[in-house]
């Protein structure tokens, strides 16, 4: 079991900066994120896009902001559980919490800070009737273990990088790969598009465009057996393709997910918090900061998330150490002492007489 002072759910900019503010108070942090890398939306959606309203940065690329935050918090040695989604929360008798992920990883923390942004990024599921009945019975929204597809007939739908890359990869693994996309154009990396064309010409990828999968059909055991592909949006051009596996790859979109069932007060798809004090939710000891929270006048800005994280850490400190005396100290005065033994501090003024 992972043990920490503050468990942060969401490793976006707000969650990352929380580690710094907590570290100044000598509180240790651990972060959970459903994505495989830290940075949240900044890394997943727009790493190469500029942001102009981070105080002190006239312009910074979202990806660079994440790199900078990771550097800023390095000495506080945060732990990470990446690629897993926080699923359940259990309050313990001593007021602490155990948060368990979808993969069963348990985290024990004195305080939980939900910095979940728009929610956890989940695969977008195409609106095909009955498709849910075939999940794990031939339909999967991501490739976990490519060996599952060895010598099988696979159909992939989508037009982005992951659809192209997996079609290329599985062309050597599966017995048959069909790629279906609504347009003739693909928007992936140029060499992936070229490679798919090569494999198509070699007969290793069966490319069907412009087309969409409109139906999924199963056998008597309830396993996927075939998909109906509609080409050019014409009923006369329907193809019934026998397949073992169907992998729709339409990217990711954020969903509030299991957090919505934690007993938190939710309003407008966000968690209500006390903005007069410390961004605590209706569950004492559980805070919500950044884009995931709401209060009168809320703005979903990174800079507001930073502020909320800072106040929240002060409250968390008082909750964890109710009897300890503390006053906020400027980093310029106190320096930054990492858990790794490093210390950053302002150079001392030199006092020397001039003869």
């Amino acid at each position: 079991m992972v043990k920490t002072d503050i468990l942060i759910i969401g490793a976006g900019p707000t969650g990352l900066f929380t580690v710094f503010e907590a570290g100044l108070l000598k509180l240790k942090c651990h972060l959970i994120d459903a994505l495989p890398q830290p940075g949240g939306q900044c890394s997943e959606l727009y790493p190469k896009k500029p942001i102009y309203d981070i105080p002190g940065f006239p312009e910074v690329l979202a990806g660079d902001l994440v790199d900078n935050l990771m550097e800023q918090i390095k000495s506080f040695e945060p732990g990470f559980t990446l690629g897993e989604r926080a699923e359940t929360i259990d309050k313990q008798e001593d007021g602490s919490f155990i948060v368990t992920t979808n993969k069963g990883t348990q985290h024990h923390a004195k305080v939980v800070a939900i910095a979940g942004g728009l929610g956890s990024f989940e695969p977008r599921k195409p609106p095909i009737p009955n498709i849910a009945n075939f999940e794990d019975k031939g339909v999967a929204y991501m490739v976990k273990d490519p060996e599952v597809y060895r010598n099988k007939k696979v159909v992939i739908a989508g037009g982005g990088d992951s659809a192209l890359d997996w079609s290329i990869f599985l062309a050597d693994v599966a017995s048959e790969v069909t790629l279906v996309h609504r347009r003739n154009e693909f928007r992936g990396a140029l060499d992936s598009v070229d490679r798919v064309k090569e494999l198509k010409d070699l007969g290793k990828i069966n490319l069907i465009t412009p087309a969409e999968i409109s139906e999924v059909r199963g056998n008597d055991n309830g396993d996927l057996e075939a998909v109906l592909i509609r080409k050019n949006n014409e009923a006369s051009e329907e193809i019934l393709l026998e397949v073992d596996h169907f992998i729709p790859l339409f990217g990711l979109s954020p969903k509030l997910g299991p957090i919505a069932n934690w007993g938190l007060e939710i309003e407008k798809n966000a968690i209500k918090v006390d903005n007069t004090l410390d961004y605590q939710t209706n569950i004492p000891g559980v805070y919500a900061i950044g884009d995931v929270n709401t209060y009168p006048g809320k703005l979903k800005l990174i800079l507001c998330g930073f502020h909320e994280a800072t106040l929240m850490c002060q409250s968390a400190f008082q909750r964890i150490f109710p009897d300890k005396k503390y006053v906020m100290k400027y980093t310029t005065v106190g320096g930054v002492t990492g858990f790794d033994g490093t210390k950053k501090e302002a150079p001392k003024a030199v006092v020397k007489a001039i003869d």
């Binding site: 609504r182 990217g251 798809n269 966000a270």
Partner: protein, 110 residues
């Protein structure tokens, strides 16, 4: 106001709303939908207006002249669901004087 244009937006429940959209606030159609709260917060404009999600997809019902589609909008619509020939992303439609009388319907939530 003088700078406003009248736009009709049919929400996801099928209710038509005629709203005044300001042309002088650097707003787009997605932001108009949000400012009038015609769809619950968190269900429209999720990516903030970068053409990186399709939560502001709408069907254009009038023959109002619109700004031409750029590559990123085109690419997003190629991946989106419930797409029709008249689909556009609201976040990519700036509110201008030309939009007077525009009529759109919000696409279903994914």
């Amino acid at each position: 106001m003088e700078e406003d244009v009248k736009i009709t937006i049919i929400d996801r429940e099928g209710v038509a709303h005629e709203v005044d959209a300001p042309t002088d606030m650097n707003m787009n159609l997605m932001e108009i939908v949000r400012s009038y709260e015609l769809a619950p917060e968190g269900t429209v404009g999720i990516c903030g207006g970068m053409a990186m999600c399709a939560s502001c997809q709408c069907y254009v019902l009038s023959d109002t002249p619109l700004t031409e589609m750029q590559d990123d909008e085109e690419a997003m619509l190629a991946e989106a669901f419930h797409v029709e020939d008249n689909s556009r992303l609201g976040c990519q439609i700036p509110i201008t004087k030309d939009l007077e009388g525009l009529k759109v319907q919000l696409a279903p939530e994914e």
